[in-house]
């Protein structure tokens, strides 16, 4: 997947299953009342629990792994709850947004959730996107949008497969 935005990644083709506006909060992605559930293998069941469209997609089984959510700017604002990243990771979704809130972005990278920071993205549900290192190409509309690369510091964690593996590597090299 192209999340690391390195030039050697092959383009990924994905279908947009849902679009969202600006400022989607972690309260919307993973409502507070489910916060006592913390383990990554248990959080997916509560993704967008109060969002009728998302729940319908889940119920109908029309959101295969690798599907894309397209959102506006400041996706994942609000609470630091990591469940918001793990719940989307659990459904193997790709989030293409015009921008991400800081803590969500870091949680996504740390957990290996596929995110694409694409300031100009315009797409509708059903559109097919081709995501490559530097751009998102909307095959349905024929439009191309530049991708803002993740900061190098985050790319290093992504490449390691997430923060657990990255930290483990650091821990082992630190030992005398």
């Amino acid at each position: 997947m192209s999340v690391t935005h390195t030039t050697d990644d092959a383009p990924v083709v994905t279908r947009v299953v849902m679009t969202l506006g600006d400022d989607v909060s972690t309260d919307a992605i993973y409502p507070g009342r489910f916060m006592a559930t913390v383990l990554p293998n248990e959080t997916p069941q509560y993704a967008f629990a109060d969002h009728p469209e998302f729940r319908a997609l889940l119920k109908e089984g029309t959101m295969p792994a690798g599907s894309a959510l397209v959102a506006g700017s400041n996706f994942g604002c609000g609470s630091s709850r990591e469940q918001a990243a793990s719940t989307l990771r659990g459904h193997n979704l790709v989030v293409v947004a015009r921008g991400f809130a800081r803590i969500f972005l870091q949680n996504a990278v740390n957990l290996g959730l596929q995110i694409v920071d694409c300031p100009g993205i315009a797409a509708s549900a059903g559109d097919v996107l081709e995501i490559s290192a530097g751009a998102v190409f909307n095959r349905t509309t024929g439009q191309r949008f530049a991708v803002r690369a993740l900061p190098p510091a985050r790319q290093a964690i992504m490449k390691a497969g997430g923060l657990i593996a990255y930290t483990r590597g650091r821990l082992l090299t630190r030992q005398p």
């Binding site: 006592a36 913390v38 740390n110 923060l163």
Partner: protein, 426 residues
């Protein structure tokens, strides 16, 4: 070119003579705070060690703080089991800065850290809670992280791959008017900046209105800096910081204020004259949907919430009690009061504030976060409207997506509780 406060703090913590916004550093952590979500941190911490052949070991247990506040006392078997798991971990690992569900030590993490004397100017503080920004009020660089990132901190004692944030400088001139509070100032700023206007930035607060503000008020400003997207809010430490730490937090040593250089480089400077500021309100369903209270005056409310990590301090309770004294909560309105800590609860009890509030019809709850985020107590019915001194009003925040939440100061909340409609306290 000089450095901002955050640059100075990070340079010291990273062991470098200087750092610049945008640089990647790995600062040593002075304090690592978690609440109930320590249950997830523990899980991720053990994952890190898996297959290494090493025994999981916290880098420095004296720098870890764990405070139960989100669901206290436990509202479900699941929470109770998580809390038990954390309690066992705390005792096995010798974590002394642990605040359990107890009247003699408990409260909301963002009050326990300051009043417990755990925060010092110049520190790097991370917390698995977005409102960790609060502790910038004492001149620390404090920011929220996720549970896996905390597990990494527990392992190595550093934040890996941190980008030094740029800084927005806010200069607050003038003097706040009667019934106008720090909450109105921060709501106004969030409205101006938007919910993402400070993304990936720190906000440094300056000006006479900040110098004249108590630490309690500064905690409100820094608490809500994250609602503009800021990595952290920070008030450079001054005489008031030293006074608070000595007199209220019992800190005897190690108070070394860090101030910005005169020629520090800022991303942006915003000036504001607070003398002309009217009471503000954040309308549903966004914290940056801010208006003067007058714009929505007369809106019927069903629940008033006083408290939380934003506005549950003694001066907040004093202001509310002052307005409610001899008055009654309007019929059809429930008024819930959550002091920010048991110390504050006890002080308010002794000062008579709690008796005044109960006699007015308010329900005084135990300190905790549950109501603010809809996980425990005070959930709203379909179609109901809450007026709250907390910090977020996203759809569904108080546990029901079919309800609405307005955010305001304690003064606005108290005046409105009496009339049953949103009301300017002046």
């Amino acid at each position: 070119m000089g450095m901002t406060v955050v640059e100075k703090i990070l340079a010291r913590a990273a062991g470098q003579p200087r750092v610049r916004a945008g640089e990647v550093v790995e600062p040593a952590v002075d304090l690592a705070m978690s609440h109930e979500n320590a249950a997830l941190v523990i899980n991720q911490f053990h994952e890190i060690y898996q297959g290494t052949g090493l025994e999981p070991r916290i880098w420095d247990p004296s720098r870890v703080a764990i405070i139960f506040d989100h669901r206290v006392p436990a509202e479900s078997a699941k929470t109770a089991t998580n809390q038990k798991k954390v309690r066992d971990f705390v005792s096995r690992n010798g974590i002394a800065k642990f605040h359990d569900v107890r009247g003699d030590q408990g409260g909301i993490c963002h009050q326990i850290l300051p009043e417990g004397g755990y925060v010092r100017p110049g520190q790097v503080i991370v917390g698995t809670d977005s409102h960790t920004t609060t502790h910038g009020a004492l001149g620390a660089f404090a920011f929220g992280i996720g549970a896996t990132e905390m597990a990494s901190v527990w392992t190595l004692g550093t934040v890996l791959n941190l980008e030094v944030p740029g800084t927005i400088r806010v200069v607050a001139n003038g003097r706040l008017g009667e019934f106008v509070s720090p909450k109105d100032l921060i709501l106004h700023l969030i409205g101006r900046l938007s919910a993402q206007g400070a993304n990936f930035m720190a906000i440094e607060f300056h000006g006479p209105a900040i110098r004249n503000m108590s630490t309690s008020g500064r905690l409100v400003l820094c608490n809500m800096a994250v609602e503009a997207g800021a990595t952290s809010g920070i008030v450079p430490a001054d005489e008031e910081t030293v006074r608070y730490l000595r007199e209220e937090a019992g800190v005897g040593e190690g108070i070394v204020p860090v101030t910005p250089d005169a020629d520090a480089s800022y991303h942006q400077t915003m000036e504001i004259d607070v003398s002309r500021l009217a009471p503000q309100i954040a309308c549903p369903h966004a914290v940056d949907n801010v208006k003067p209270v007058d714009a929505v005056a007369g809106t019927k409310i069903h629940q008033v919430v006083i408290g939380s990590c934003t506005n549950g301090r003694l001066d907040d309770l004093a202001a509310v009690a002052g307005i409610m004294r001899g008055k009654k909560v309007a019929a059809g309105v429930r008024m819930l009061v959550f002091p920010a800590s048991w110390r504050i609860y006890t002080q308010a009890l002794r000062a008579g504030y709690l008796a005044t509030l109960v006699e007015a019809g308010a329900v005084v709850m135990n300190p905790g976060c549950g109501c603010c985020l809809g996980v425990h107590q005070g959930v709203l019915a379909d179609g109901e409207v809450a007026l709250s001194t907390t910090n977020r009003n996203f759809q569904g925040r108080m546990g029901n997506p079919k309800a609405e939440v307005y955010l305001c100061s304690p003064e606005v909340a108290a005046a409105s509780a009496i009339t049953g409609v949103i009301q300017d306290p002046r």
